[in-house]
Symmetry: C2
Subunit: 478 residues, 2 copies
Amino acid sequence: MSNPLNLDIFFHPKSIAVVGTPSETPKGKWPGMYGCIVENGYTGTLYPINPKATEVGSRKAYPNLTSLPVVADLVILSVPAPFVPDILRECAATGHKNIHIFTAGFKETGEPEGLQLQEEIETIAREHELRVIGPNCMGVFVPKIKMATWVDPPDAIGRVAFLSQSGGHAQDFTNYGAKLGLGYSKVVSYGNALTLDAPDFLEYLAEDPDTDIIAMYLEGASDGRRLLETVRKVNQLKPVVILKAGLTESGTRAVASHTGSLAGKTHIWDAFFRQTGAIQVQSLQEMAHTVLALQHFKTAEGNGVAVLGVGGGVGVEAADACSRAGLGLPDLSDSVRQKLREYVGPAGNMIRNPIDAFVILLDFGLLSKTLDIISAEACFDMFILSIHLDWLFDIDAGAHLPRMTEYLIKTAHRHLNGKPLAVCWRTLRQNPKIEKQGLQFEKALLAAGIPVYRDLNQTAGALSRFTAYHQLKKQLCN
Amino acid sequence: MSNPLNLDIFFHPKSIAVVGTPSETPKGKWPGMYGCIVENGYTGTLYPINPKATEVGSRKAYPNLTSLPVVADLVILSVPAPFVPDILRECAATGHKNIHIFTAGFKETGEPEGLQLQEEIETIAREHELRVIGPNCMGVFVPKIKMATWVDPPDAIGRVAFLSQSGGHAQDFTNYGAKLGLGYSKVVSYGNALTLDAPDFLEYLAEDPDTDIIAMYLEGASDGRRLLETVRKVNQLKPVVILKAGLTESGTRAVASHTGSLAGKTHIWDAFFRQTGAIQVQSLQEMAHTVLALQHFKTAEGNGVAVLGVGGGVGVEAADACSRAGLGLPDLSDSVRQKLREYVGPAGNMIRNPIDAFVILLDFGLLSKTLDIISAEACFDMFILSIHLDWLFDIDAGAHLPRMTEYLIKTAHRHLNGKPLAVCWRTLRQNPKIEKQGLQFEKALLAAGIPVYRDLNQTAGALSRFTAYHQLKKQLCN
């Protein structure tokens, strides 16, 4: 795979010029592109461009790109839409090739003026071979170099890339994922996709040594065939997880109004996912949960899950969730049941799969024994441990859960026979202490590389998509 | 509808005997049935039954039911399963008719001993016309009389009843719902449903003056025809919301193992919901969200929603969520668009449905104007207001959201033309101040009778089920 566009400079710009920098950062309002880049601690050289100011903050301001002492690695346009064509021409004249147009008011408005403006800037960009991210987008976020154009991005460096046609979703996904311990290599909000589109970024990320997993929020594709071919290739190298929006009638209309994209029909996208092997998700949360499983689990042989936990209703819920997600939930064999029956009484417990047995969660020796017995069975490929904090919290006045945390981090993996284990926890009681302990539990497990979820549907869904990815990848490879 | 079983005494017992009360409450462990009832502040008379103790806590203990000075209104059995038949015989001999069997270890074990024990106790109960809740369940929770058999129930009196075959779910649902401001009239965890089954409780609740809405967690039904007839009748009087578990292959097996129930086939239950008009939900959370809409909204003419908010990606998400949930999302007419266009610019906004326009959320005069314009249109039956706290929080250094809270509580309803408005909020940023303000916002709105959700799928799902209920009810009534 080639990378003819040399996009690297977008992600490591040594200098950035921001055209349309206000002379002062407005108080109590959104600080704007330039203000955000400063606040977030970008360490390269910044050139504020403002025709009326000589200084912005402590930095020298320039009236235009022509007056800059150098050619900036990246130019950001944050001016009203009618000014954009002339500034693009100035970019071309001054040798600025890498451009992020933040400005909105183009094709997505559906109004004649916006449509005409988008045509005009597309012509300029193609004629002068400008590399344009946008318009109508937030541009690039690279935690490693503290480069971000919005307020309060997460300080989360890692190996997940995110391509998003929505700037808001770029913020929401990176914030949500950061709470699950995800970190990011490169994030791009690319809006209307004037010249640079998803396939261009995918080709770049496929070769990016900092990226292991690629997540995408997609509204439409200007060249569906190229997108399909690119995703199919890239997905063999690195998992590609896609939230395709606008697959409903109302969604199609909203997509046109948001980024001027053509959403496409459901059956076309169904074929797209079958043919590429990319992982389809329905929400940003599902995306983060799936990435979490992909990040921590290498591979699974099959989709058979054993669920351990406490609570009969919760066990039924787990069974329904696994079935609905397409996971297998093999029943325990008679010999396994007999082995468990030696230390689990029949009253108040379920010695099936899911296993509902308080005693196993209270006595870690028995938990290890149970994991040993089950992980030895070929039909089980992975584990879900379902933890109801509301019932475990009161044990030993709050001392049990920290012990379980330690057990799961230090000991459990020795009894899994190399099979993945995900943890799902819940608390519903109105007791802030339980919630606090739950968050500590979650944080410690995530730091130790154990995927943690808060809902059984989330858990089952993430594991199912993780296993489906590996199965489909093998099929498509053959 | 008659109520021949006179179940009222279960919900207002003046005296309770707990057979199998330990002489001391175990420290750092679950305090047991008796311990919980005491801790939760039940104000009636309690009779601890323990053959070896003369006193439990400060109360006189009795060796058995025969030695009690009175016939207790309710007897709770918390003894090992093999002792249950003899105690039931003692109940019959001493005139105790109202019995809750907490004890597990019967049909649900699938083991010969348990099956035989359940047959035995069923014979005794039928012969002596005992009214039995259980076995294998948590029994009754009535906030108004501080009667509960588990730890830390919510202090939430209200008009929602909950029938549950799972004791854990009775706890989880009431805890979760309480956070949304739901309160409860009567809650019953009835486990294996030996003699008293869902239809019995439904007939009682249909006539209960304290109950407006009935929620149910159902694993199986011993008499499907009777359940269908009862739900159909009751649902015309009070909405019945049902989480039917075990509708997957694995779920069916788990249900058998949990309460010994037959889950039944999916197509049978599909027909059940069509014929009864009851509202089907897939999780306890969905149940609470649906009950919230039913509680605060009286009725809706149709299912056309207008979505107002900020964020293009969020707008697309809202559109997809509404479409998937089966809600209509009529586009704005040209004349409405023209009216909005007078104060909403085309750049960075979506003047469609969903409407994405920051200015409308910043200026409450414009918000009122927008609500006036849209609520006057016949095609819109209700509103979703989508609030992204991460973007609103920084406005005026945190002062904007409290103003919006006040606006929504005091002013918005004057501009709705009597149409329902639900609010959906989110915060993803790792800023505890935003979360805190969000929770205050949520609490204030809920207290003012405005349903609040945290996810667009939740919101759309709840509104869709709410409108479908009213539509189906009308059809079935004709």
